[in-house]
Subunit: 452 residues, 2 copies
């Protein structure tokens, strides 16, 4: 049953309130498709449809809805229903939902849950946003090293309904410290009487619960893991991050980086769904800020007004020169933001990257100076050509260094380097470009400065 | 054994040529770490170390090296060794390597392989780059619907050494057509005597081998799959794309999009590893192209020289106005490039997106016009204020529309929308901004145009 069929069937089910038809969808369609189709209906109809689902399937479809919708539906559910939903949701999604409920809703739901569930929710919900702890799940399978392979498979079969994956099991000692991992594949290939302690891979890859969540994504991608185990301050195993949650994190991080590079703040949803007022709000801040940033360029120009009046041909090259600095700078910034985000470059590389960038920018500047000097000759004669070529060389080097350094500086200040957006770099490079250009012009062409 | 230990041990092993020490690393370190440490040594030492490895482990480490290094090492291996390596590599990595070997090397290796391997390599290597076929593997597990659950588990155990995953098995009919999927989890939870045909999930998610590879990533992320099955033109199952390969594709696509948005062509490797000449080559093309693109701005300015000489205060606002158009445009372009890349927006949405963008840009322009009119009043009086505010309003709308439309146009022309880079948008928006600004100025301030 493909997505289109689900959309059509769901419309019918909402119209007729026929629960038997829903059972057919539930059996034949993917929960992600049911959630996708459901997302287009109002919250009242959504809770109606979810009421028809079996408890486990309901939690699964609910988990695929976006968080705003989850909260809205939760408001339509009575205490018993909400408690049942909480019980069936995966532990990480449940903790995220809990964090978005009102205090009233939390007070309603918590007493309806067993002690162990309450503890689990409180613990997972306590990790700060964007940490590994905030995306991990506590539904993982553990084994003790003394079990045989056959016993371990039985154990995994027993816990399967309550774990996100049984394909990786984590071997722990009596103090819940992680001592090894073993995959179900290894287990079913092993001699059934062999001990887990001998079969397991010791000293596995792990991550701390307080690390940034992107690091879990890096580890999973680098080592091709199904999940990475998470350790707390006391070296105890407290959760796992699965590959599918890692893919969602990666997607979210990439979206964020892109928006920041484009100087748009987080939309929180798809471009198509975003309302006009949301788009306006998310874009206006940077644009207006950059207007005022640009005043420095203007001030530079005002300062050199006499030079401009004497050589109006200089204005001809103004957009070209300031843009070239900005373009070279946004190239460096883009490369650097991405390299910092993927961990390819780290903070301490700054000095060595600076040296390389200086050489690359020098070569780029020389090439562009050559290209532009011909134009200068044609437009304004040899003196203008000299001014333009010299300015181009310096403007490109300065722009590149700004573009390269700003992401490092932001990173150092514990800010997201992606905030070094192309528009910001352009504006900064513009202001310096204007000053460099007219200062060189005034020097070479020998004009008096304003006020002298 | 962590990465740092591996680096140190490997240096020792290369110095002493002690194969027993390598056996320790092989057992205790992750192949990705061994490959990472190995990458820092010359190809001759790399083949020396790989020669110490057991055949299966060797292929695994080799698979984690980047493709340039794989090709260089392959040149150091004799025919027997290379054939053995080919036999042990996963089918997708093997086909990629095959595509990068010289004709001579291909002719050497192919006769040393069995017929079935040769066929597999030829088939996989034939898919065009960036299609699903080019990233899929043919090492997957199939089951026939008549097997019982217990028989199916035995079958998976049997094929485990040669398949990338046994956690998902694909149920096929006699014509190799995909009729269902079943997970190992479901199999071990099922009644051992139940039939696969009854247990399997019918009509599973699938993808065509000729589809763009990003679509496989979308499906895997959307439906939380371990792997997506791949179908050829005749509806036959021909391979699977696993989640770990999907994560690599996602990473590569994101890097490409970022570089394009920053107007840098594909580096093919990390920023830190890239040589200075490579960086120069990859960046110079766009920068020089944009120099010539910027001539249009210059020409616009030359045309309105008289206006500038009469009102030199106009130059004060020049960088501000042209930048604002470029900034608004690169915001729209960034949002649109990303939305097209993730499939959030498709080509046919152009008209409706245009309408929304017009409204958003109108509001943004009005806000910025208001901000800048105060400056105009202060710098040049009410007439200049009017000119600047009016220009700002129009420049922002035009810039946004260019930024929003260019990715669509490129997409329509079957070019990558990410080529609508911020620098390109800025340059186009600049040229139009200059003309708009001075045309409005000339009209409002009532100056004669050049040549009249």
């Amino acid at each position: 049953m493909d997505y289109f069929d689900v959309v059509v069937s769901l419309k019918g089910i909402i119209a007729t309130r026929n629960a038997a038809d829903y059972a057919v969808i539930e059996k034949r369609a993917h929960p992600a498709d049911i959630a996708g189709a459901l997302a287009q209906h109002p919250a009242r109809d959504q809770s109606l449809v979810l009421g028809m689902a079996s408890p486990a399937a309901r939690a699964e479809v609910f988990g695929y809805l976006d968080q705003d919708q989850q909260v809205r539906i939760a408001q339509h559910l009575d205490r018993r229903r909400l408690a049942e939903l909480f019980l069936n949701m995966s532990s990480d999604e449940r903790a995220d939902l809990y964090n978005r409920l009102s205090d009233d809703q939390r007070d309603t739901i918590m007493p309806a849950l067993a002690q162990v569930e309450r503890e689990d929710i409180r613990q997972l919900a306590a990790y700060p946003e964007k940490t590994v702890g905030s995306v991990m799940t506590s539904d993982y399978a553990t084994l003790s090293p003394g079990l045989t392979a056959a016993e371990a498979i039985d154990e995994l079969r027993r816990v399967a309904p309550d774990t996100e994956t049984i394909y990786q099991a984590y071997v722990i000692d009596k103090g819940r410290r992680l001592i090894g991992v073993i995959s179900l594949r290894e287990l079913i290939l092993a001699d059934p009487t062999a001990r887990i302690g001998d079969l397991m891979k010791p000293s596995p890859v792990w991550i701390s619960a307080s690390a940034p969540r992107e690091e879990a994504v890096h580890l999973i991608a680098k080592y091709d893991l199904l999940a990475v185990p998470v350790i707390n301050g006391g070296n105890m195993l407290v959760g796992i991050v699965t590959y599918d949650d890692a893919m969602d994190v990666e997607q979210a991080e990439t979206d964020t980086d892109f928006r920041k590079v484009g100087a748009v703040s987080e939309l929180g949803r798809g471009l198509k769904e975003a309302s006009i007022t949301l788009l306006y709000r998310k874009r206006v801040f940077w644009l207006v800020l950059l207007v005022f940033g640009n005043l420095f360029s203007g001030a530079g120009i005002a300062y050199f007004e006499d030079t401009i009046l004497a050589y109006v041909a200089l204005v001809f090259f103004l957009p070209l020169l300031v843009d070239s600095g900005g373009n070279a700078g946004s190239q460096s910034a883009t490369l650097m933001v991405r390299a910092l985000a993927t961990g390819d470059v780290v903070l301490k590389d700054w000095a060595s990257m600076l040296g390389r960038e200086l050489i690359v920018a020098g070569l780029l500047g020389a090439t562009m100076a050559l290209a532009v000097s011909g134009l200068g000759l044609w437009r304004g004669g040899p003196e203008i050509a000299l001014v333009v070529a010299l300015s181009m060389q310096i403007v490109v080097i300065v722009g590149s260094l700004i573009g390269m350094s700003l992401p490092f500086v932001l990173s150092r200040l514990k800010m997201d380097p992606a905030t070094a957006s192309a528009p910001l770099i352009t504006s900064i490079a513009d202001a310096t470009g204007v000053v460099i250009y007219f200062a060189i012009a005034t020097t070479v062409l020998g004009l008096p400065e304003v006020g002298s």
